[in-house]
């Protein structure tokens, strides 16, 4: 069955460092991979999307990589700030777009 895993439940990073979150998947060939941010008591907010034929995507301090051979995506936040503290979810989108599979998320804490 399809499975998606995010590297750890929680990650604590010192302010100013680069935070790296991992998303691994099995038994799936996604056409797209998306990353969302979720704050407590709120719905997820879309951050970035990367296509299967793209290796890397950047947006301001965010960088996403997508390795379809390793079946892995890495999500980087450079120059991290306490305001970046949240849960980050990766999501796989298949060819039909009708179903998106979400990971359970990684709770990121940036300490001052």
């Amino acid at each position: 069955s399809q499975k998606i895993e995010q590297n750890s439940e929680a990650l604590n990073i010192q302010e100013g460092k680069t935070a790296t979150l991992t998303c691994n998947y099995t038994n799936y060939s996604p056409a797209y991979l998306q990353w969302y941010r979720q704050d407590p008591g709120r719905g997820p907010v879309f951050l970035l999307l990367i296509r299967e034929n793209e290796k890397e995507k950047r947006k301001e301090r965010l960088k996403v990589t997508f390795d379809t051979t390793l079946k892995q995506s890495l999500f980087h936040i450079t120059a991290s700030q306490p305001a970046d503290s949240a849960t980050y979810l990766c999501a796989l989108v298949g060819s039909s777009a009708s179903k998106i599979i979400f990971g359970s998320g990684t709770r990121l804490s940036i300490r001052p």
């Binding site: 719905g43 298949g94 009708s98 179903k99």
Partner: protein
């Protein structure tokens, strides 16, 4: 509207009662999704609508769950004879069209507690 809205924001019910959850998507968005999120868990896909049509109901946890969408806009998720394991946050999302590259815009969710 400005964003996806959901009502009620919180619902506490007794086991065995029926509940109805409402989602108002962003105006003009044709695709609508329902998810369930249990404490500390990821989002569990339930059902999607393209317009008023829901072609695949296989994600619904049991036949106690049903959903409908009317006028290509508002959607309701109904849970009959609620059980304690139905307790979760129910999230609704919409996107402009049903396309792989479209981001989903999520509502704030309805927190359902079944006593």
């Amino acid at each position: 509207g400005a964003g996806v809205s959901q009502s009620p924001s919180n619902k506490v019910t007794e086991k065995g009662k029926d509940v109805e959850l409402r989602c108002d998507p962003i105006s003009g968005h044709t695709a609508l999704y329902w998810y369930r999120q249990s404490l500390g868990q990821g989002l569990e896909f339930l059902i999607y609508f393209q317009g008023n049509s829901a072609p695949d109901k296989s994600g619904l946890p049991s036949d106690r769950f049903s959903a409908e969408r009317t006028g290509g806009s508002v959607s309701t998720l109904t849970i009959q004879r609620t059980q304690q394991e139905d307790s979760a946050v129910y999230l609704c999302a919409s996107s402009l069209v049903l396309a792989q590259s479209n981001e989903q815009f999520f509502g704030p969710g309805t927190r359902l507690t079944v006593l």
